[in-house]
């Protein structure tokens, strides 16, 4: 096969996968010892090449095929356009070539459903098996599970992947059926998530399970999304949830709909951080929501502190949880403050806090240093 054919496929299938969001391989907990000697799944990666949209390219992110039986109203694959499909051998060779050149640090493989979900899954598994077994690749592989795929194929994927995910797309049954009439949230998606969780709990996935949601496609509110996030983290043991602001694709039924502002996506990521890293309960986070159930366009942690009337805390006596509530103090700064306290070192100036990593312009109204506090918010 000539290069031009492969390059053309990369152009078509890479472009179709660009709306899928994934992290670099550094999210893995380390290469599994039973995998091959080529590849490191948890250390410095390759040069993350920036695209003009501010995102970076560090994985071979592609679809196996963009021929799809579903007619999701928002999806580029349901619009007329060029179609292509990788051969498993061709994809494996392409990936290993780029990996040995140190251009990519892992593989992200998704696919449209071509004819039958199981047939497509079989070809995805064949490609990744070649990478794992023939080329002894032990590094990062993220596989997308297809709606409607058999349990047996999910199991086979879990043996090959570091991370698996299936896109939930919308926060409720009704909202999903509005934008993807062929998909059923319980049967097609939640059941697959249950299967992934089962294999993850057995230690098959070093980087766990994630999911992705399109923000604004089904006119859902941030409150709906928060409820869904809480349920997903609690029941499906997700590592994280990705958000993708809806942008209309040309020639799709939703091409006339207005794009969701990117700031909404950003505020949801900040809220997700409060939920996932700060372990803040959803009940508390809902305090940041406006009357319409949406987050205001401001840092949710600062909004919570202002709305909740957070009193200034003394940095030399406050507990870890109290410090975490202060805008501008994250888990790392809070643990540094506590480490200094354990070593009998008192913090006596704002400069020391700045050195530790506290963002003073946000933190000063909510902290006391030497019994003194600044009353005005500069942010």
């Amino acid at each position: 096969m000539g290069f031009s054919a492969t390059e053309n496929k990369i152009r078509i299938l890479g472009s179709s996968s660009k709306y899928d969001i994934c992290q670099s391989s550094s999210c893995g907990s380390g290469p599994r010892p039973d995998r091959g000697p080529i590849g490191a799944a948890s250390s410095f990666g390759v040069c993350k090449s920036a695209t003009p949209d501010g995102r970076t390219v560090c994985l071979l992110k592609t679809l196996l095929t963009n021929k799809c039986i579903h007619d999701c109203k928002y999806c580029e694959n349901s619009a007329p356009g060029p179609r292509a499909e990788f051969e498993p051998q061709e994809l494996a060779r392409l990936f290993m070539g780029l990996y040995l050149q140190n251009r990519v640090e892992g593989l992200f493989l998704s696919s449209a459903v071509c004819g039958d979900a199981d047939r497509t899954a079989e070809r995805m598994i064949e490609a990744v098996s070649l990478v794992r077994n023939k080329y002894q690749f032990g590094g990062y592989v993220h596989l997308k599970v297809l709606p409607g795929m058999s349990y047996e194929y999910v199991k086979q994927m879990s043996e090959l992947a570091d991370r698996m995910s299936i896109n939930i797309e919308a926060p409720s049954h009704q909202q999903l059926s509005e934008i993807a009439p062929n998909k059923d949230l319980s049967n097609d998606i939640i059941k697959r998530q249950d299967a992934i969780r089962e294999f993850d709990s057995k230690g098959a996935l070093s980087a766990g399970q994630t999911t992705q949601l399109i923000v604004g496609a089904a006119d859902e509110s941030d409150s709906d999304i928060l409820k869904m996030m809480e349920w997903q983290y609690k029941n499906q043991n997700l590592k994280r949830i990705y958000f993708s602001a809806f942008g209309p694709c040309p020639n799709t039924p939703m091409s006339g709909k207005k794009a969701t502002p990117l700031s909404r996506e950003h505020r949801l990521y900040q809220t997700d951080w409060l939920l996932r890293v700060y372990k803040m309960p959803v009940k508390e986070i809902t305090g940041a929501l406006g009357e319409d159930g949406n987050l205001p366009n401001a840092d949710p942690k600062t909004v919570l502190a202002v709305n909740g009337g957070l009193k200034p805390v003394d940095v030399n006596s406050a507990q870890y949880r109290e410090l975490l509530r202060v805008p501008g103090i994250g888990p790392q700064s809070a643990s540094r403050i506590l480490a200094l306290r354990r070593a009998q070192k008192r913090i006596t100036s704002y400069k020391e806090l700045h050195n530790i990593g506290v963002v003073l312009k946000r933190a000063t109204p909510f902290i006391k240093v030497n019994g003194w506090t600044q009353a005005r918010l500069i942010a």
Binding site: K18, Y19, A50, T51, G54, K61, R93, N102, K134, L340
Partner: protein, 202 residues
């Protein structure tokens, strides 16, 4: 830097930074671990900065070195680190590509490391001479059928851009400054990067 460096790690990295003289190094050596690791004073902050400069250089070389694959089971690449970190990078790449011999060439010499090597070898011989001495390694024959064109990466990179999400501010934040001066790439002039003459002519 997202993780806390231990005192011994900081001291190890300081030795590779020419900005850190012996007196500063010995003062840091005497400093207690809590103050140093939690950046409790200006000198601790400075030590962290020097150490992180070395780490950034290691990170940069790891990220920017691109390899070519030889039929003898060798991955060879060129790099240009400002600080002497080639040995660390060669060991890292060997960890990543365990079956291959890694050859890194920089202005300080050629660094070789691979399976059954006890330490990183540094030589001033040109890269071609070094390559000719290494014969086929077992286990690497399977990679001989890989023949990826350099345009494949270009095609992948171009396919990932979403024009609707264009965000040049973030793009320039991610892009190293020296690449912002490449032909075809222009920084949009705002209030702060405009010269007085440009204000006058605008």
């Amino acid at each position: 830097m997202n993780y806390r460096m231990r005192k011994d790690q900081i001291l190890g990295l300081l030795g590779r930074n020419p900005k850190c003289d012996i007196k500063f190094h010995s003062r840091i050596e005497r400093m207690d671990a809590d103050s140093l690791e939690n950046k409790n004073c200006t000198e601790a902050c400075l030590a962290h900065r020097f150490a992180s400069e070395v780490l950034s250089e290691i990170d940069r070389v790891m990220a920017f070195t691109k390899f070519k694959f030889s039929k003898a089971g060798v991955l060879f690449g060129e790099c240009s680190p400002n600080l002497p970190v080639e040995d660390i990078v060669a060991r890292y790449f060997h960890q990543k590509y365990a079956l291959f011999v890694i050859i890194l060439h920089s202005h300080r010499g050629t660094y070789i490391f691979g399976p059954e090597f006890e330490c990183v070898i540094r030589t001033s011989e040109p890269i071609d001479a070094v390559m000719s001495e290494i014969t086929g390694l077992p286990g690497t024959e399977v990679f001989l059928d890989l023949d990826v064109s350099p345009n494949a990466w270009e095609a992948l990179y171009r396919s990932q851009y979403i024009p609707q999400r264009k965000n040049l501010k973030q793009f320039y934040a991610v892009l190293p400054k020296k690449y912002q001066r490449l032909e075809g790439l222009t920084v949009e002039k705002g209030f702060f990067n405009r010269s007085l003459e440009e204000f006058a002519t605008a």
